[in-house]
């Protein structure tokens, strides 16, 4: 039974303008490149009078950067004017980027916890369990299963755990399989994994501000010499 692949970008004409339906199940980067292709080609179609555009994201929410990228693609067609961007069920279309979401519980074998943005999990991820996030993953507990941070390509995402003994780690597109790929001694205590030169590396937590300078370092300013 061959499945017909749905287009990532479906365009429908209405009497008020154009409706862009962006498939929620595919990575947003793929959607954007399809959008780019469609906007750049069939150019005769776009060079009409000013047309209002409604963009529907389905269940997806996007980041400000993603929105900016998308708007830039549309700006190539001066006559297309974005009227609205919407997610399903009246959800705000922007991911709430303030802070990090906290969830409690054990992710057991066969279970998948999917998340958008940064995630703080209070609990264990057991062997055979799977945590995926578009942002970073912090586990206040034992990470013994699989964690995939930066699931839509964010290479700056990190994975940290109180006890980091995963069966596998993935950051963006890179896969790492401990312990054959790392030294076991590295994984005692609080550690985090990050991407460097296309490989996953593990380091002690106190190194994080050196490796990710964008994370603000806390300093005690109370007693100045």
């Amino acid at each position: 039974m061959g499945k017909v692949l749905r287009p990532g970008v479906t365009i429908k004409g209405t009497k008020d303008g154009l409706l862009f339906l962006l498939d929620e199940s595919r990575p947003f980067s793929a959607i954007l490149s399809e959008l780019k292709y469609k906007l750049e080609n069939a150019s005769n179609l776009w060079d009409g009078p000013d047309t209002r555009v409604w963009i529907k994201l389905g269940n997806r929410q996007i980041t400000r950067e993603e929105e900016k990228e998308m708007r830039e693609l549309f700006s190539a067609r001066k006559n297309l004017i974005i009227h609205s961007i919407e997610a399903a069920n009246g959800k705000p279309y922007l991911v709430d980027n303030r802070g990090i979401q906290m969830l409690a519980g054990t992710v057991r074998s066969g279970q998948v916890l999917e998340h958008r943005g940064d995630l703080l999990l209070l609990g264990d991820v057991n062997p055979g369990g799977n945590v995926r996030s578009t942002g970073s993953i912090f586990v206040l507990g034992a990470l013994r299963g699989l964690a995939h941070a930066g699931g839509e390509g964010d290479e700056s995402a990190i994975i940290a755990a109180s006890s980091l003994h995963p069966t596998q780690l993935r950051i963006a597109e890179v896969v790492s399989r401990p312990p054959d790929e790392w030294d076991e001694s590295e994984t005692s205590g609080m550690n985090f994994a990050y991407l460097v030169n296309g490989q996953i590396a593990v380091d002690k937590m106190h190194q994080i501000s050196r490796i990710r300078p964008d994370i603000h370092e806390w300093k005690d300013h109370r007693f100045k010499a």
Binding site: T106, R108, S109, G110, Q111, G123, D124, N126, P127, G128, G129, A142, R144
Partner: protein, 264 residues
């Protein structure tokens, strides 16, 4: 109105039927009216472990298909006054009954018994789902081995979804000397991965195999440690606080007891 307890594991051969037979017998010896319900249709075992195979006339499928009354299919135990077995069918397969029918049967049995102990088939497919759907409580059996723990973990996750109230853990076939040599996980590690309350630890004991072959649950033999372990599990099921057995003369077991007693 009684209570239905399902004994499950995910992985096969870790001791579900042995645990069901022994816990059921121990509960009956403690004065409860108990029904053992074998839901492993096509691979029935519980009748053999109980030594009741030759008394089977009707089975669970006959009851479901209304070929007989529930009472006609119940087999009274040879040794315990208040213990009955409702055997699985051997010639049918798991598709012979559905979860609605099983829920009906379990509800009927709960009217007649204090305790219905459900022996669940291995796996996480329909047979498992059916057995679990009518249960009030669940006991997850695992051996201290990675593969078994992995499957137990999967089952605990599924039980949480089925809204069976917090499952309890039995660690079966522990070999203390192997643990000491580092060749087997210790109970603490198993409990910390599965993160559920520990109901008891049963040592690996060839007497269990021997008595299973003779159709006499080991719990009937007073002296063995495994029998003691099963009796303690039965007491904990009834809400008693019983310290864990010292399976070996080792102080550290005593030290850990307190932590293990956290179950309700």
């Amino acid at each position: 109105m009684g209570e239905a307890i399902v004994v499950t594991s995910g992985k096969g051969g870790v001791g579900k039927s042995t645990t069901s037979a022994n816990i059921g017998t121990a509960l009956a010896m403690a004065g409860k009216k108990v029904c053992l319900l074998d839901t492993d249709i096509g691979l029935r075992n519980l009748d053999v472990l109980m030594g009741l195979e030759n008394r089977i006339i009707y089975d669970i499928v006959d009851v479901i298909e209304k070929n007989c009354k529930i009472e006609q299919a119940l087999i009274k135990d040879k040794r315990c006054e208040a213990l009955y077995l409702l055997p699985a069918a051997q010639t049918k397969d798991k598709s012979a009954i559905n979860s609605k029918q099983l829920r009906w049967l379990i509800a009927e049995l709960k009217e007649k018994f204090d305790c219905v102990v459900i022996d669940c088939p291995a796996g996480i497919e329909m047979g498992f789902k059916n057995a679990v759907s009518g249960a009030d409580r669940a006991i997850v059996v695992t051996t201290p081995e990675n593969a078994s723990i992995r499957d137990a973990d999967r089952v605990v996750g599924l039980l949480e979804k089925e809204k069976v109230s917090r499952p309890k853990l039995v660690v079966n076939r522990l070999r203390p000397h192997l643990v000491r040599e580092g060749g087997m996980m210790d109970v603490d590690e198993v409990v910390s991965v599965l993160a559920i309350d520990l109901l008891g630890v049963v040592p690996d004991d060839e007497e269990v195999i021997r008595s299973g072959n003779q159709g006499e649950p080991i719990v009937l033999h007073k002296k063995s440690l495994a029998a003691q372990a099963y009796r303690n599990i039965a007491r904990r099921i009834q809400g008693e606080v019983v310290p864990l057995l010292v399976l070996e003369k080792e102080r550290k077991f005593l030290g850990r007891m307190k932590r293990w007693l956290g179950f309700a």
